[in-house]
Symmetry: C2
Subunit: 198 residues, 2 copies
């Protein structure tokens, strides 16, 4: 482990290393203490990911329960709403689940009139997905619930923090995922190829 991977100065120590469990610092000079600090920072980041994701996801559960839907349905609604006219195969690539897993979820959403399937105009094998009026209404309710939380967090943290948040989140993703994230955002010139039915 090379001893200078992060040259951050600001915000690194925020709070002492919480003297409790784990290897106690100060046994091998300042280098060891720094290593310990950095490890504690990374472990804290793991905690943050777990708790923040869990609580954000859970905040929409009450609405889902009303409809007898689960989180898998929420994710599908989210991405279909975000990319209206998306093909099934594209949705599969976004979610990274199998065709079977998605099929169950999608069948329920279509059966309840929340999602619409129309054959692709250019490629009629495709079934392009979009939200119905009802689907859009539900997705909006779910979104508003989570939005409250995120707006509050963004406001408390401030604009600079928001920018930092986004940079770190992007950095943690797979490179492949990062490419998928930009709907038409340029950067890579081969990104908007093969996207029929805008």
């Amino acid at each position: 482990m090379d001893a200078r991977l992060m040259e951050q100065k600001a915000g690194v120590r925020e709070r002492g290393p919480a003297g409790g469990p784990g290897p106690t610092p100060g046994e091998g000079g300042a280098g060891t203490a720094l290593l310990f600090l950095r490890e504690e920072q990374m472990r804290l980041a793991q905690d943050l990911f777990f708790f923040a994701y869990r609580d954000l996801a859970a905040s929409a559960d009450a609405i889902l329960l009303e409809f007898g839907l689960g989180r898998a349905h929420h994710r599908a609604l989210h991405f279909i709403g975000r990319r209206s006219g998306i093909a099934v195969s594209e949705l599969l690539a976004l979610l990274r689940i199998t065709k079977q897993s998605l099929a169950r979820v999608l069948a329920e959403l279509v059966a309840r009139g929340l999602v619409l399937q129309v054959p692709g105009p250019r490629d009629r094998r495709q079934r392009l997905l979009s939200l119905t009026e009802e689907g859009r209404a539900l997705e909006r309710r779910l979104f508003e619930r989570q939005r409250e939380r995120m707006v509050a967090a963004y406001r408390e943290a401030g604009g600079a923090a928001v920018d930092g948040f986004r940079r770190v989140m992007r950095g943690v993703m797979d490179e492949q995922t990062r490419d998928l994230l930009e709907p038409r955002g340029a950067r890579s010139p081969a990104a908007d190829r093969g996207r029929a039915a805008g």
Copy 2:
């Protein structure tokens, strides 16, 4: 919806609102456009949460597969390692799952010699949990795999970004979760009550 919740200046437009699907801006004056921008920001944040969490979690799967363990085991190992000597009830509160769900996971970890249970010295009803040597070794491998990703993200983003990341992540959590996050971090004076067996 009041029209000035976020007074962020930096990093708000980073990329145009991706002219594709959704309500097109510029139909109701500048106010509508700003509203649209903010909504797009919040939806992007949802994407970031989903993708970053998923990819970070998935990065440890290969190691788990070697051992025939799942992500639930990983989470348990993580928190037991982080709070050595934690009681079962405390672990339940951290994970927010039921006793049954944890029991299955814990039984496997103990059976494989990765986790140790010892009766609480003060309260002998408790079973205090800690990692065995083997358990610590496995947890470290899992941690290192995720650490690579996070260190890279932190380094690319920079120190200020890391601080912002942490603030936003904290803000998104439940208040209750935020309290649990600080192992002995003061701030709230009733935080370190009832924590037997340090």
